[in-house]
Structures are given as C-alpha cells and as structure tokens.
C-alpha cells in the first residue's frame, strides 16, 4: 500500500509537469487548430535557460533558495514567452491561410532548428543542475515519507494552473481567448484582435512550458537537448486525453497520465514506461478522440 | 414499378427533428420533385438516401433492398448517384478527371493490375476514357476536358457534377438544386437535359426551388415542411393544394 501512495504522489508530481506543458499544446490548438511540434523544445529551452541563469547569477548564494527559485522561474517564463512569440511570428503567422500540412511541416522544422541550436550552443551531452541547492528532506504525511520536492513541484504546478484557469475564466482577455478558440471569424467581428490573442497564447503556453522545464531541471538534476521530445509527446497525449482545446482537460489529462505512467511503471514493467503513454494515446484516439472532457473545438463536418 | 420506396424515415439531430416520418415512392422512369420551404429537410432526406447520414428510424428500399446502414460508395455501386447542393467537385483537377471519378465504381482493376498493366486493365482504362468523354459530350462540356474544374462557370460546374454522376451508370440520379445559380437560358437547357436523362432510362429525383422548372419537368411532386410530408401528387394537384400554398406563402393574418 505504501508503494502505491509513493507512486501516486510521484505520478502527481510528474503529472503536474505534463499538465503545464499540455496546456501550451491545448491552448495553441484551441485557437489555431495547430499542433505546435516545437512546444516541447520550448520546454527544453526553459530548462537550459534556467541552468544558465542559475549558474551565472549565483542567485542561491545571494538570496536563498526559495526567493531564488521564484525569481528564476519568473525570468525563465518571461524569456521563453518571448521566444514563443517570435516563433509564432516567424514560423506560423505567414502560414495562417495555407493548408494545415504546411504549418505542421513548419512546426517540425522549427523543432529541429531549436533542438540543434541548443545542441550547438550548449553541448550534445547531458548537463547537470547544481545538486545541493534544494531540500532533500522528506515530509511525513499519513505515515509515508514523501520527498518534499515532490510536494513543492506538485503545488507549484497547481498554483500555475489555478492562475491560468482564473485568467481564462474571469478576465476579459481570457474570454477573448476562449472566443477565438471557438470561432475566429466571429471573434474578429466582435472586435477581438485575434492576432493579439494568438500572440498572447504563444506567450502564456511557452511560459508555462518553460517553467515546467526549470522544474524538471531542478527535480531530476540533469537535462539534455532531446528531453523536449519525450516530455512533449507525453504532454500532448495528456492534452488529447483531456480533450484537445480544453484547458481544464489538459490539467486533468496531465495529472491522470502522470499517475497512470507511474503506477504502470511500478506494477507492470519499468522498461515499457514510455510505451504506456503511446498506448494511451492510440487507445484514446481510437475509442474516444474527443477526450475525457470533450474537444472544445468547433467541428465543421 | 417502384424503384425507390421511402418508408417512415426519421432523422433527428440532438433535439431537432429534421425528418419526421416521411414516406414516398419513386416510380422507375419518372422524374420526381422534392420541394418545400427552406429548412424543410429536403437535403437531409437526400443524405439519408445516399448514406451520408444514418436515419433514426425507417427504411429506404431501392430495387427491393434496404439501403440503410450501407456505406455511400456501396449505394453508388447499387445504382444511386447524386449531385450536391454546394458543388463538390474536385476543384483542382481537370474536367476529365472529375468525370473519370464517376467511372471508378464500374471498373475493377486494382493496384496489382495497375502495376502489371494487364491487357484487361489497359482495355478497361481506354473504355473508361471513352465513356467519360461520352458523358462530357452529353452535357456539352467535352471541349473543356483539360480545364480545371474551378475555372468553369458556376452553371458549367453544375453540369460537370451531373456528368460525373452519370458516369457511375446509375438507375436513379438524385439532383440537389441543379438549377442553383443558373440563368433562364441555362435553366431551359437543364430542363432539356433532364428529359434526355430520362430518355436514357434513368429515374430522376430532384430538389429544386425554381418552381417553373419543377412544374414543367416533374411527373409527380412530394412536398415537405418542417421535416414532414404535407402533400404529394401531380404538379397540377400540388399547385391547387391549399396546404402547400400556405406553407410557401404563409397564412393571411386577417383570416
């Protein structure tokens, strides 16, 4: 039983990461009907930028771990948001009127570009985050020793998700985003600047992805230029699981996938852990392609 | 003999009853018109016949066999061809290629025969070219064979769709607003074309809003309103039917 809860909490922590990345996919798909293949690489960029900032600014020594991490997260999120906006402007906006396949290929090209840029700028090898900066202690909850980092990660993910949810549901701009996701043409007629909305989506999504990258770097300790591929594909599975285009869906899907994967790895086989996500993906697309919470995308027959 | 028998056909979308217990027959060799105000469910009935939608209830008997549940391409093979209300041509392909698409279901050569270029396959290819050009001549578009479909005039595009439908060698052809966008001269030519189609032994079922065309060319009419059949009979009977007049023109508020 103890093993179960350990895996459950582990799954939730990782699931939070998947959820943050998934939100980026789902928001972009919602407004543009585009699968942003380069999104996973924005996550990777977040991890690398985090490392660079962390090491070069020596924040932990100056202001202590907690404020440092927060400051780091904010900086990373802003930087990745900018990169996301540039990506949209360069690789996707010229293709708004083109067939879908063109945008897909462009996204792939951007992904290849980013991955190789990271490899060229940094190194093809695994890079290591500094070890001793974060608490290693475990907290005892209900008789279980749960690493405190897990709790921090999960809570951070929750906070960010809650902030996004609030933003989308309660603010005017959030409503504009939702409107553009349902019907771009109608949104334009209502005076919504769809270009701005799309740019905003390409700032928020990547920002969350970048934050996730930073967290992964801090939690797992090492990063690699291709990490965005695996995480990205699993996060995309999570987005589909919850219903592509559906923001609460991405959150639920991410957490659910994290748990399924952790339990599957523990109880079925660890070697097939990565395959679990793909199996879930294929199953969902065959059995219930609109996802658990339903696809919030206007479908034209 | 009855070629097509629609019995108690119903279709709802969510809460909306688009087609409500509709029944009518189409006699072989006749030209039947399906008319009614906008939103009456006429195109939905067509979609139910051709397998694009599945009904919630009822049967579609064609040549004695129920078509409900069959995929569209099988229904085409059985002998029902259709044109679409919004033209659905292969816009970026040539006129000839569009008509060749109709000939597909009457040919048999598969991928292996194609790679081996068997004698049967070559003969079949030549034959389908010949038939495609024949259908284009029939609608007077043979000279446009090389042109892309999207470059044709609207009226010619409708004719091309008919040519493609005829290439499937149908027993019944279902035309959804064939005169849409046509001027008087084109409509006149269309009427003549429909009659010549009938001369070929093909039964015609059409939806049309152009009452002049409908009254002149159809031997019987079926009138729908709000998804239900409100009248059927000869053009003369329908023209005099007060219920039909009410459906189209509304009831005078003084009465």
């Amino acid at each position: 039983m103890e093993e179960f809860f350990q895996q459950l909490t582990n799954g939730l922590a990782v699931g939070g990461i998947y959820a943050l990345i998934a939100l980026g996919y789902t928001m972009v798909y919602g407004v543009m009907k585009l699968i942003n293949f380069a999104h996973g690489d924005l996550f990777t960029i977040g991890a690398y930028l985090g490392l660079t900032l962390l090491v070069s600014m020596g924040l932990f020594d100056k202001i202590g771990p907690l404020p440092a991490v927060i400051l780091l997260a904010i900086m990373v999120m802003i930087l990745v948001a900018i990169i996301g906006a540039i990506l949209e402007r360069v690789a996707y906006r010229p293709l708004r009127q083109s067939p879908r396949l063109s945008a897909v290929v462009s996204a792939l090209g951007a992904s290849i570009f980013f991955q190789n840029a990271i490899m060229a700028i940094y190194s093809p090898k695994f890079l290591v985050y500094p070890h001793d900066i974060l608490p290693k202690a475990a907290v005892n909850i209900l008789g279980l020793d749960i690493p405190i980092m897990r709790i921090i990660m999960f809570s951070t993910s929750l906070v960010l998700m809650a902030a996004l949810y609030f933003f989308i549901q309660k603010t005017k701009i959030g409503t504009a985003i939702r409107a553009a996701a349902i019907d771009q043409g109608a949104a334009k007629l209502m005076g919504i600047n769809v270009d701005r909305v799309i740019m905003l989506v390409f700032c928020i999504g990547p920002a969350l992805g970048g934050a996730a990258g930073l967290m992964v770097g801090l939690y797992y300790g090492q990063i690699n230029f291709s990490m965005g591929w695996m995480f990205g594909l699993k996060a995309f599975t999570a987005a589909i699981l919850g219903g592509i285009g559906n923001i609460p869906g991405a959150m639920v899907g991410g957490l659910l996938l994290g748990v399924i994967e952790a339990l599957g790895a523990a109880y079925i086989s660890i070697a097939w852990k990565d395959a679990i996500a793909f199996c879930v993906l294929i199953l969902i697309l065959i059995v219930r392609p609109t996802g658990l919470l339903g696809e919030r995308v206007a479908e034209k027959v | 003999m009855t070629l097509l028998a629609i019995d108690n056909l119903s279709k709802s979308f969510g809460g909306l009853m688009a087609v409500n217990d509709v029944s009518f027959d189409v006699e072989a060799g006749s030209i039947v018109g399906l008319i009614g105000p906008n939103g009456a469910g006429k195109t939905t009935v067509f979609n139910l016949i051709t397998g694009n939608y599945q009904p919630n209830a009822g049967t579609v008997l064609f040549d004695g066999q129920n078509l409900v549940g069959l995929p569209t391409h099988t229904i085409v093979e059985r002998g029902i061809a259709r044109t679409f209300q919004t033209i659905r041509l292969f816009q970026n392909m040539s006129v000839l290629e569009n008509v060749l698409a109709g000939g597909h279901c009457r040919m048999h050569s598969g991928s292996v025969a194609a790679m081996l270029r068997t004698k049967t396959q070559r003969r079949e290819e030549h034959e389908s070219m010949r038939q495609a050009m024949a259908e284009l001549e029939f609608v007077s578009l043979a000279h446009e064979w090389k042109n892309k479909a999207k470059n044709l005039s609207y009226g010619n595009q409708r004719l091309l769709e008919i040519a493609r439908a005829l290439a499937t060698k149908p027993k019944l052809i279902v035309l959804d607003e064939p005169a849409g966008g046509m001027n008087d001269q084109e409509t006149h030519d269309l009427i003549r074309l429909i009659r010549v189609i009938q001369d070929r032994g093909i039964t015609v079922l059409l939806i049309e809003h152009d009452m002049g065309l409908v009254m002149r060319v159809c031997s019987s009419l079926v009138v729908l309103e709000h998804g239900a059949k409100i009248a059927s009979g000869t053009p003369a009977e329908i023209q005099a039917n007060p219920r039909v007049i009410e459906a189209y023109l509304g009831v005078d508020s003084d009465e």
């Binding site: 290929v105 462009s106 792939l108 097939w272 697309l285 | 085409v76 991928s111 070219m129 043979a142």
Partner: protein, 318 residues
C-alpha cells in the same frame, strides 16, 4: 508521356554510369540516396498520393529489416530470398495497425502514426518475443548473393539498390496513372466527394498503407544486408521525419519531386560535411522557409496526360 520517358531514360543512363566516376565514399553516399529514394517513394504512395499524414514510416522499414535479420541469422535464409517475406510482414503489420486508425482526421492520424513508430522502437529495444536482440540489435547478417555472386562492395550495392529503385519507379509510375492512382488523388482532394462518386475510401487508404509498407519492408532487407548490423535507433521517429520531409519538400505526389528531394536532403548535407554541426540547423530553417515560400514542394505534380487524342470531338479545341 513521351518527353518524360526520355528524361527517365537519361536519368537511368546517368545513374548507371556513376560508379565509374565515383570513389567508394561517394558511391556509398549515392547508395544511401538510393535507399532513401525507395523509402520516400513508398511513403509517397501514402502521404503524397493518398494525402494521409503518416509519420511512422520507419516502423515498416524496421519490421522489414528485422524480419530479414532474424530469418537470416536464426534460420540461415539467404537475404534476397527473405525480401518478399520482409515485405509481407511489413504489409501485414500495416494492415493490422492501419485499419483502426484509417478514419482519423489529418492531425490525429499524424500523432497516432508517431505513437506507432515509437512503440515499435521501444518494443525492439525491449527485445519483444525475445528475438530482436534488444538495444544492441542483431549482427552478423549475411550479404546478398545473386546466382552465387556475392554483393559486398559499394559499387555492387549501387547496382542492387538503384536496380531496385528503377523497378520501384517503373511500377509506381504505372500505379499513378491508373484507376487506383486516380482514386488516391480523389481521396486526397476531397474524401466526401470521392465517396459520393462511388470510391471505397477506407479500402483504398488501407491498400495505400499496405503498398507503402511492403516496399519499405523490402527496402529494410537491403539495408540490413548492407549494414550487416541493425539496431533500434536506426528506425526512430527522426528517420520518419527525414522521409516525411523528403516527400513534402520534394513535392508530395510527384515521383520526380520525391527523387529530387532524396538527392537534396541526403546528398547535399554530404557536400557540406565540414559544417556538420550546422547541417541540421539549416535543415530545420529550410523546412520553415520552404513552407512559407513554396509549400507545394520543389517539383509538384503536374497535370496528367491522358491518351484520349482519338476520343476528342472532331474540330474540338485540344
């Protein structure tokens, strides 16, 4: 057709004389180009002609290669004899996995095919059924022998590979200009209209997948015997991306376009070997730029010629 026939013949003659001018290194480059040409042509049937977004082609390649490897190292079956079996295995696999996903909408199909190729790769690494050799793969695959003549040097492989490529091009050209080829065109252009015209859309999509898979599988045989060692990382998603890009950038649906695409994407980076680090960077950027400025590819398919001169109305406009 006549003028294009001459072009193909000229190309064939040019290629046939190549090994006389090229050193071993460059012959091998051309061998790679040849393999990718065949693979890309097989993907072209699925992606270019039928318009199905397929990014899992490396899976079919892998199954063919591993079938040959296993039959050869475990049962001693000569490599070329195993080629049809490799193709059949890949074809059966395609039939099984494609059937449930054939109806999916474009983007979704794309994602599922990615999932499939990854599952295949993971299965190979995990030594599924205990025959795939795990992450190290299978080694000791024999070289092909034709009537006792062993093919082992690059220029020998050159003729084997490009001979197979020539056969492939020949058969696929015929396939393109046939009822089947046209059916795929119609499906790509407008599925609903195709169905309404009497074309069995699911059937044709499935057959397209199977044909593409069979050819990729047979190509896997040649690859396995050329390398004598195969391992899962040769059949990753990245390989599928390369094939996908060759087809799209070369000209989806156009056989000459795909051939050109293979030459450019596989051959050109060899020219810039020195700048190895930046090759992929340029590659990625080139993809984005191509889509913005020429998304139909370098050599998109042109209008088809139909042999109807005898059928035209007398005095009609040609």
């Amino acid at each position: 057709m006549k003028s294009t026939n001459i072009l193909y013949l000229a190309f064939a003659l040019l290629m046939a004389s190549c090994p006389m001018f090229l050193n071993a290194y460059w012959t091998d480059v051309f061998n790679n180009v040849g393999l990718y040409t065949i693979l890309a042509l097989s993907l072209n049937v699925i992606l270019g002609h039928a318009g199905l977004f397929h990014m899992g082609h490396a899976a079919f390649y892998a199954i063919g290669a591993y079938t040959t490897a296993i039959l050869n190292t475990t049962f001693g079956i000569p490599v070329l004899w195993s080629m049809p079996l490799a193709g059949i295995m890949a074809g059966i696999f395609a039939m099984i996995v494609a059937r449930p996903i054939i109806h999916l909408r474009g983007d979704y199909l794309l994602i599922v095919t990615i999932g499939i190729v990854e599952i295949v790769r993971i299965a190979l690494i995990n030594n599924v059924f205990d025959i795939t050799g795990g992450a190290n793969g299978i080694f000791g695959i024999s070289r092909p022998t034709v009537f006792g003549y062993k093919i082992s040097k690059p220029d020998q492989f050159f003729y084997l590979i490009w001979g197979f490529a020539a056969v492939t091009i020949f058969l696929f050209l015929r396939l393109e200009h046939s009822r089947f080829g046209r059916a795929l065109m119609y499906i790509k252009e407008d599925e609903v209209a195709a169905g309404g015209s009497g074309i069995n859309v699911p059937h044709h999509k499935l057959v397209a997948f199977i044909i593409g898979a069979v050819w990729a599988g047979m190509c896997g045989t040649i690859y396995a015997s050329k390398m004598t060692i195969i391992a899962p990382e040769s059949f990753s998603f990245a390989e599928s991306v390369v094939l996908f890009t060759i087809v799209i950038l070369g000209g989806a649906g156009s056989i000459p376009g795909v051939i050109l695409g293979a030459f450019l994407l596989i051959g050109l980076p060899e020219v810039f070997r020195g700048l190895a680090e930046y090759r992929m960077l340029v590659f990625g950027a080139a993809m984005v730029l191509m889509m913005i400025f020429r998304n139909q590819g370098l050599l998109p398919p042109g209008p088809k010629n139909y042999d109807i001169a005898s059928l035209l109305p007398a005095g009609g406009r040609k």
